[in-house]
């Protein structure tokens, strides 16, 4: 037995990772949800987390912006860094972390406010606009980048909850990018949407690639293959395999990955 094991090298091979995780363990009360996960997340790629239900992919995603803090009884061990800064350090300000690492949820969750106010929510919190004109510009550019401007420009005062599901989800993406984050976490962003709205979101993810580091959790393997360049396969709380998306889907190394990809379980 080695007394001082060297830190396990991360799976993946990127020059300068945007976020790194080393030996992350997550517990919900007594139950361990994540076991020794180490991963590097690249700034210029879309990274997909796939795996069967309950494999811990969403739990791990929520560690990256400390959203697990809001869950009672959740405990995170290990080290997660954003540009070399420890995310879980005591001097890390959660408010600033979440401004840098934005999140889009499974179910579209626009606030019961106007479309404009939904997008302006983050910039107002963080004081990004000095004047009304500034704010108008921020809202417009966020809606444009989210591909929602043409549909929304004439109804900015209407309630965000009155839009269709796909539009609501793009509104949530606009809301997330309005504060110009560095990383966007997407937790199954299309699972509540129809195929057309899903295709629209996938296009959008592709357009946003490069500008933001994007991590997407998905149930849908075709979606992972379509939108991501890197894919991580989770199973029973462990990271089984992490590689270029093309190699994962054409040439998986682990049998568990292969079984999952070929539909043997999940």
């Amino acid at each position: 037995m080695n007394q001082n094991p060297a830190p396990k090298p991360a799976i993946g091979h990127n020059a300068v990772p945007k976020m790194t995780a080393r030996d992350v363990n997550v517990f919900y009360g007594q139950k361990q949800a994540i076991k020794n996960v180490s991963i590097d997340i690249s700034a210029e790629h879309v990274t997909a987390f796939i795996g069967p239900s309950g494999c811990g992919k969403s739990t791990f995603l929520r560690c990256l912006n400390r959203m697990n803090d809001t869950v009672d009884g959740a405990r995170v061990e290990g080290r997660i860094e954003l540009d070399g800064e420890d995310v879980y350090a005591s001097n890390m300000d959660v408010v600033q972390l979440r401004a840098r690492v934005g999140m889009v949820f499974q179910k579209p969750n626009p606030f019961p406010k106007s479309i404009y106010e939904n997008v302006a929510y983050g910039p107002r919190l963080h004081g990004l606009a000095r004047s009304k004109a500034d704010m108008d510009e921020i809202v417009e550019s966020a809606l444009k980048r989210a591909g929602l401007w043409d549909e929304a420009k004439d109804r900015l005062g209407e309630s965000g909850t009155a839009m269709s599901g796909g539009q609501q989800q793009r509104l949530c993406i606009a809301r997330a990018i309005a504060v110009d984050p560095e990383v966007i976490l997407m937790d199954e962003p299309c699972s509540a949407l129809d195929p057309i709205a899903t295709a629209r979101i996938e296009e959008l993810i592709d357009e946003l690639r490069g500008r933001y580091a994007i991590v997407i959790v998905t149930h849908n393997m075709q979606q992972a293959a379509r939108v991501s360049q890197k894919t991580a396969f989770f199973h029973l709380g462990t990271l089984v395999e992490y590689d270029d998306t093309s190699s994962i889907f054409t040439n998986p190394k682990a049998t568990r990955t292969k079984d999952y990809i070929t539909g043997r379980y999940g």
């Binding site: 972390l97 401004a99 999140m103 949820f105 983050g122």
Partner: protein, 464 residues
């Protein structure tokens, strides 16, 4: 007494009917060899079916006799008098009948009315006959109903479905009783109010600024001009119940709900919430003497310290403060429900944008829960303006139209209590005004309740 015996007898016989039906069901099951489906219903349903058919008509007869029997007996007893002997007015015949009943029951050793001793045996005989007749009729109907039901039992008889219909009828009757009672209360309020409005015009009542419900007994009496302007009472009610009490209850209730739903550790919440709700279980009379004996003197010393040397010891502020504390659990539990009903995704969405918990509460949770919170506040207001004990003990009786919280004001409920306490003549405007006040209060709380429930309902739909 005899009616009670009849009731016990009827219930006992219905029990026998149940046993008879069940045993017949059992025998059918045995005869069919115990195969499932050979006998449609299980024996208990056969028994219950027979018992209900036996019991229902008998109970109707006994209940009917209990309601109209006394009137019939009275008619018979008074009818035995000659026309000349008959009491002239309804009041006189009531008095005579009371004496007769007293003699028969043995409560009255000696009657004043010379007719009473003569009528006593007539009354006793009529009552005995009537009770026996009603009892016999009930038992006969019971036997007929039971036998008819018993004769219908067959292996393919759908007793289970019949019992289900009977149960539904029973539940319907129970809810109709509650609804009819409400209607009865409203009608009695309306009839007495109409009598009041024949004496005092509704315009004066609803818009007059002076309240002094003393009416003259003799024409030459001093200070006898009654003034029935109820505006000072409405103002006092709103001042205490809707302004001062809400100024206490809304901030405290809302903030405690926010703390309990958004911040408190679940283990702490498990303890704190029931303790807070204990406030709702304190009898209002206890709040009343807390207000009168503890808070009112403090408020008065405070007013004196402010320079109001003539401050009253009954103050709107004392009553309103304590009432506000009483209302806190209403506001907080409604606000708690409303906040808990806001989808978690909404809160997560805000937190994920980098909002602090308090920013999330202020900008997302409270606006989203606002209709529910408003509904809770309106229900609390309607509860506060109908509240009686605290204001009776702490708010005073002086009908002042003032916005000074340290002065004594009075409320609708306090005045109703004052007007109806003691011996009252029910033909004076003074007494009848209590019903008009009650009617106004009822209408106010009814409107508030309907509006509040509509608000809460609309809001529930928004998230389902």
């Amino acid at each position: 007494m005899r009616l009670l015996i009849a009731l016990a007898l009827v219930l006992g016989l219905a029990g026998l009917a149940y046993l008879a039906g069940r045993s017949r069901g059992n025998r059918m099951v045995v005869a069919a060899g115990g195969r499932i489906g050979a006998v449609h219903s299980r024996p208990v349903y056969h028994g219950a079916y027979v018992a209900v058919l036996a019991l229902a008509p008998a109970l109707l007869v006994l209940a009917g006799w209990g309601m109209v029997g006394e009137g019939l007996i009275e008619g018979q007893v008074l009818g035995s008098l000659t026309a000349a002997e008959r009491p002239a007015s309804g009041n006189d015949s009531d008095a005579l009948m009371n004496e007769v009943r007293g003699l028969v029951n043995g409560d009255l050793p000696q009657a004043f009315n010379p007719l009473a001793p003569r009528l006593a045996p007539v009354y006793a005989a009529a009552r005995t006959n009537g009770d026996l007749l009603a009892g016999a009729l009930a038992v006969a109907l019971l036997a007929m109903g039971g036998l008819w039901g018993w004769s219908r039992l067959r292996p393919d008889f759908r007793a289970r479905n019949r019992v289900e219909i009977q149960v539904r009828a029973l539940l319907l009757i129970a809810s109709i009783v509650a609804i009819l009672t409400t209607f009865g209360i409203v009608l009695s309020l309306i009839f007495e109010s109409i009598r009041f409005f024949q004496l005092v015009s509704p315009v004066e009542f609803l818009t007059g600024l002076a309240w002094s419900p003393q009416t003259a007994i003799r024409a030459d009496q001093v200070g006898s001009t009654g003034a029935f302007g109820a505006v000072p009472l409405f103002w006092g009610t709103i001042f205490i119940g809707a302004i001062i009490a809400m100024a206490v209850a809304i901030p405290l209730g809302l903030m405690s709900a926010i703390y309990l739903t958004q911040y408190a550790d679940p283990r702490l919440r498990k303890w704190l919430k029931p303790i807070l709700e204990l406030l709702a279980g304190v009898p209002t009379v206890v709040y009343g003497f807390f207000a009168a004996l503890t808070i009112a003197p403090l408020v008065r010393s405070f007013a004196v310290a402010l320079g109001m040397t003539d401050a009253s010891s009954d103050s709107a502020l004392a009553a309103g403060l304590v009432m506000g504390v009483m209302i806190i659990p209403f506001v907080s539990s409604m606000a708690d429900d409303a906040l808990a009903a806001v989808p978690r995704a909404m809160r997560d969405g805000s937190l994920a944008m980098g909002a602090t918990p308090s920013e999330t509460v202020k900008k997302v949770m409270v606006p989203a829960a606002l209709p529910g919170i408003m509904g809770g506040v309106l229900l609390a207001v309607s509860r506060a303006i109908g509240e009686t004990m605290i204001v009776v003990m702490a708010a005073g009786l002086a009908a002042n139209l003032t916005a000074n919280p340290f002065s004594s004001v009075t409320t609708v409920t306090t005045q109703i209590v004052a007007l109806l306490t003691g011996d009252q003549e029910f033909d004076s405007a003074k007494t009848l005004s209590a019903f008009a006040l009650g009617l106004v209060l009822f209408v106010m709380t009814l409107i508030l309740n309907i509006y509040a429930l509509a608000v809460v309902k609309r809001y529930r739909e928004a998230y389902e």
